[in-house]
């Protein structure tokens, strides 16, 4: 398959992710949108590994690292969201506004 299809898929996923981060107000949904961005990255990395990289391995290593780091990040984020939840009994980001500019 051509590289451009992978890139297009990745770009679409990335855009959906960015839209989600900007538009969603629920913390977990924002987190899922970020996951979409990271998936876009992973698709790109694997595609580049087969199409561009001479060694063909670096992109796959990137993909594995991204997956691992994303898992850690989500664990951390969910823990903090849980605490937010226990404080304001929902995870709506609009209500987390004790501090304003």
């Amino acid at each position: 398959m051509e590289l451009i299809y992978f890139e297009l898929l990745s770009a679409v996923l990335f855009s959906i992710g960015v839209y989600g981060v900007l538009a969603r107000r629920h913390a977990v949904l924002v987190l899922m949108s970020i996951e979409l961005i990271l998936n876009a990255v992973t698709i790109n990395a694997v595609a580049y590994a087969t199409h561009i990289d001479a060694s063909g391995i670096t992109g796959q290593i990137i993909a594995i690292f991204v997956i691992t780091i994303a898992a850690a990040e989500f664990g951390l984020a969910l823990a903090i969201i849980l605490r937010l939840y226990s404080q304001q009994s929902n995870a709506n980001l609009d209500e987390a506004n004790r501090m304003k500019w």
């Binding site: 913390a27 987190l31 790109n44 670096t58 992109g59 990137i62 903090i80 004790r98 501090m99």
Partner: protein, 479 residues
């Protein structure tokens, strides 16, 4: 993988082990924790700092097959970062007690973030750089949230981690695009690839993603919105760590990336970053005027400082890079001074509102004079570090035919003087809320005095430091 590589990596390994030691002491002997762990951390880092000075000085090499660089540039930053963390742990000792923070986790995670920062400055490859950024950022997310009972701390943490993860995503997307363009992740490989590629659109896309990602991490306008909230919500020493440590570490990487790796495509990023720098320093300082909380005020002032620092990136010359590093060194000393003096007051007053600083000069003259000195230094007034470092940086900028930018920067410093003077007025002119004296520990007051001396020293006699920085820049970026 050879033993030499591991030997040269030993400072990072030692700090990671120190983190584990701190964890375990807290786990098995919880009664010993509060003061002891802070002292242990700072002492341990101090010993490792001396050790790395001995181990790394004069070394110019790359380890692990070119993944990490060891040279006087990275060594300079590693020493600086370790010194900053020593300071952070010293000023944390009384603070953690008054907020009931679990010290074992607290110090161990600070140490882990230090490991991230140290790897960050020596990264020579995209994946390593990314992982180091994440190691640093994850530790900071946890540290911001560490005051469990504090609602503000929680709210700051959620904003920080969501925006941080988002910005990591952007950064990563950009990095992978760069990998897709050049087929390699090593900085030198990318540099060669970029200089031979003509199609600019992909590179532009990749650079803007990377720029936005770093923009978030450095709190550069328009990616700054997390900074005031996080600065206000985080425990004070952590605010200092974010404002000083993470900023310096990321700027060290950004400087290598933009003055070396992305240098072939300078025409793509220079105009945009110049405008962003101008906007950042002016609006950061203007937004600081309306703040009533000193942490938020410092947040906006540090956004303004990021704007000045960007000028060092735009210069893309050895003079500009030296200026940037000198300014960051001065900024580190000054900010440590201001944060540690604020902690002295905070430990007693338990408030960050500027109005609660009324009459501090009567209640604790030392803290008042130190805050005054550091604010003067941040505003770039002579006798203190800020004047000299800013003059150097602005001169380097003017040298690259960007006198207009230096002029805007000078104007921004005057705006900043206005709100700094309001704090100083509050401390010296207004009547104190209560007449009780503010006492502090010997450790804190000694530390504050040392930082004051450092600030004045850099301001009056910068030559030794400039010499070191010039060698560092010559050895790595512009040789």
């Amino acid at each position: 993988m050879n033993t030499e590589s591991i030997r040269l990596l030993s400072p990072e390994l030692l700090i990671a082990s120190l983190a584990i030691v701190v964890f375990s002491i807290d786990l098995f002997k919880p009664s010993k924790s509060s003061d002891f762990l802070g002292r242990l951390t700072s002492l341990g880092v101090f010993i490792i700092m001396i050790f790395s000075l001995w181990l790394l000085s004069g070394k110019e090499t790359e380890i692990f097959e070119g993944i990490l660089a060891i040279n006087s540039y990275t060594t300079f930053f590693k020493i600086l970062l370790m010194a900053i963390v020593i300071g952070i742990s010293l000023i944390s000792i009384t603070y953690t007690k008054s907020y009931n923070i679990n010290t074992g986790e607290y110090y161990a995670i600070i140490l882990l973030s230090l490991v991230g920062m140290m790897l960050l400055v020596s990264a020579r490859e995209l994946i390593t750089a990314y992982i180091s950024i994440e190691l640093m950022s994850f530790s900071l997310y946890v540290l911001v949230a560490i005051a469990k009972k504090d609602l503000k701390s929680n709210e700051a943490a959620i904003k920080y981690i969501l925006l941080g993860a988002f910005s990591s995503g952007l950064l990563l997307y950009g990095l992978v695009l760069i990998y897709g363009i050049s087929g390699t992740t090593s900085f030198s490989g990318i540099e060669t690839a970029l200089s031979s590629i003509d199609s600019n659109l992909r590179i532009l896309l990749a650079l803007s993603m990377i720029g936005a990602g770093f923009g978030f991490k450095l709190a550069i306008i328009p990616f700054h919105m997390w900074a005031p909230d996080v600065y206000e919500g985080a425990p004070l020493p952590i605010t200092a760590l974010i404002a000083i440590g993470s900023k310096i570490a990321i700027f060290a990487l950004v400087l290598t990336l933009f003055s070396q790796t992305f240098l072939p495509k300078i025409e793509l990023w220079k105009p945009t970053i110049s405008i962003i720098a101008a906007i950042t320093m002016v609006s950061g300082n203007i937004l600081a005027i309306v703040q009533s909380n000193i942490k938020r005020m410092l947040a906006y002032s540090s956004i303004g400082q990021s704007g000045y620092m960007l000028m060092g990136i735009i210069c893309a010359s050895s003079l500009g890079s030296s200026g940037l590093i000198l300014h960051m060194t001065g900024y580190a000393a000054t900010s440590m001074l201001v944060f540690s003096s604020i902690i002295i007051i905070h430990n007693n007053v338990l408030s960050d509102q500027i109005q609660d600083y009324a009459g501090i000069a009567k209640r604790n003259p030392l803290a008042a004079i130190c805050i005054t000195a550091s604010l003067f230094s941040l505003a770039g007034l002579p006798f203190f570090a800020g004047f000299t470092t800013k003059f150097y940086l602005f001169a380097a900028t003017a040298k690259e035919d960007m006198l207009w930018l230096a002029g805007i920067a000078a104007t921004a410093s005057v705006i900043s003087l206005y709100y700094y003077l309001r704090v100083i007025k509050e401390m010296y002119v207004s009547d104190p809320i209560s007449s009780t004296k503010i006492y502090t520990t010997k450790t804190l007051s000694t530390f504050v005095l040392i930082m004051l001396a450092a600030t004045i020293f850099i301001g009056l006699y910068p030559e030794p430091i400039v010499d070191i920085i010039d060698t560092a820049v010559a050895s790595y970026i512009f040789n």
